[in-house]
Amino acid sequence: MPSPQPRILIVDDEAAVRDSLRRWFELEGYAIEVAESGAAALRRLQQESFDVALVDLKMPGMDGVTLQHRMQEVTPDTAVIIVTAFGTIQSAVEVLKHGAFDYLTKPVDPDELSRMVRRALELRELRVQNARLRQAVDHRGGLVIVGETAAMRALNAQVEEAAHADVPVLICGESGTGKHLVATALHAASARRYFSFVPVHCGAGGELGDDELLGHEGGAQPQPQLRRMGKLQLAEGGTLFLDEVGQLGRRTQSALLEILRSGTFTPLGGTRPRPADFRLIAASSVPLDALVEQARFSADLYYRLAVLTLTCPPLRERRSDIPLLARHLLQRRAAQASAPFTDFSPGALERLVAHDWPGNVRELANAIERALVVGRPPLVGAEDLPLGPTPAPSHASAPHATAADDLSLAAVEQRHITQVLERCQGDRSRAATLLGITTEALEQKLARLAPPAARG
């Protein structure tokens, strides 16, 4: 789409100057209007908008400085170029301080005039684009987490409140309950939304490398190293999101604690500390207070992270949200995949609601995605949702009635491990996280506790 013709207002009390500049700019293809005084210019500006105004500094009545001040109130987006003669540069500098785009001294080199007007138009275009982008970001700030149960309404309200408080937030909840989405919503509704949201998953190795967290200033010691921005620098002004913070190693916990204490950090190879200007949001699927009790997580760091705590409820505790959430996910995925699915069959909905969803919303989303591949539009049927038998609720701590006879510690442990493994659909890494032990420790326990029949 061709951009509209740029509009320029020329304000000068000399008719010859107005006329010559009008002719000059018309040849460039601009739309030109002229005004012989500051008052006439303001009258024009009340009727229509201009991209650029060329304003003579010395005019009888309202001078260029006063006009520029008034224009800031009437039409702040118009880029004002002040035109002055030699000897009045001090005044021109004064108007620059009050927001004029630039100034020119008479007589003007034609090349300089053309370039300055082009730059002013580019600046105006950037401002318009910026406003559009801000509007888009503001719109995303209205991000809500789907759910109409009391728990979800409360969570949405907490997100809205917490977003405006520039303090650390800890988000708790089982895996797949939407902690990352909550963190994104917090950032998008906060005053830091125009800066970066930097997610860091702490689960991979437990420890974050210093250069990954702090960055590197570059240099030659001990080996040539390129400058690298760390996560803290990337999050400057914005939000640092530490996902699965409970898996953070002790060394990184200490480093992070020190940064939060001092409010500064020093990149590797650097000599001067930088301000740690970011909001910290952390999430954990394992109760962090339990890890503190087990001395596996720094109590100091825990209290610094948990200034505000939000909890994402598991899907099985908000079953009445499942149809709403499932339809929301179906619509989104179907639109992305251009698949003509419109709804679920009654049987499919029944099945969705009955399932316990140990993997929570993530599992639900995956099930729907699979159904779109294997199902026949327009309805997703129950047969398109091959959900396994609903495992026993893992949150039920009572042992199985059939095994109640054996109350030995080993038997109880075995039953508990089995339940957790079922809930995690056999994912030993996730089960280990829920059990609060390492995967290796779980493997050892499974090997030790396995019943003779299982040993073959």
Partner: protein
């Protein structure tokens, strides 16, 4: 965006007949030797008849003694007072200015009757370089077509090869072609005459 091939293709057939153009040398005792060749080159690109005015116009009223330059707008006013209906291109040897600007190569009435052009900054001698008549004639033709293009309603073109591209320095005149791009040619054909 136009492809390079499209830009570089030869002029598209004989131009449509246009209202005539009259060249008006101003301040010369007799028509300079290059006027005939200039008329031919203008006619080749813009079409229509190109004549040469014999009436003499005065430069004196346009001279700004402080600046040592001629006011292009004053000259334009005198030029368009000449009788007739052709587009008029005044050509002067002195340097031109318009109020506010240090200098101009030329000035024109957009979609109007008159245009004015200075040969002063087209001459290598101004830049301390060896005279080059061929280069001078090419610059003169390009700027004459450019100013007349404005008089026929064309504004500055973004295509750097097009003769209607704005030139702030003489080197930029040398870079563009002595022809209209396809877009400007189309606009010229559709322009009210």
């Amino acid at each position: 965006m136009r492809s390079r091939a499209e830009i570089e293709r030869p002029p598209q057939g004989p131009p449509q007949p246009r209202p005539g153009v009259r060249l008006v040398p101003i301040g010369y005792r007799q028509a300079p030797s290059w006027t005939g060749e200039l008329a031919r080159r203008i006619g080749h690109v813009l079409g229509g008849a190109v004549g040469i005015e014999t009436a003499r116009l005065s430069l004196e009223s346009a001279l700004d003694v402080h600046r040592g330059q001629y006011n292009a707008l004053t000259l334009l006013e005198g030029l368009i007072a000449l009788p007739g209906s052709e587009r008029l291109l005044g050509i002067v040897a002195g340097d031109l200015f318009i109020p506010m600007l240090t200098h101009v190569f030329g000035q024109a009435q957009l979609n109007g009757r008159g245009a004015i052009l200075s040969t002063y900054r087209l001459d290598n001698a101004v830049y301390g370089l060896a005279p080059d008549d061929t280069l001078f004639a090419a610059r003169l033709a390009k700027e004459a077509i450019h100013e007349l293009g404005h008089a026929f309603g064309l504004v500055h073109c973004h295509d750097p090869d097009c003769v209607m591209h704005s030139s702030m320095y003489v080197e930029e005149i040398d870079l563009k072609r002595e022809d209209l791009c396809s877009d400007c040619r189309q606009r010229l054909s559709g322009a009210a005459v």
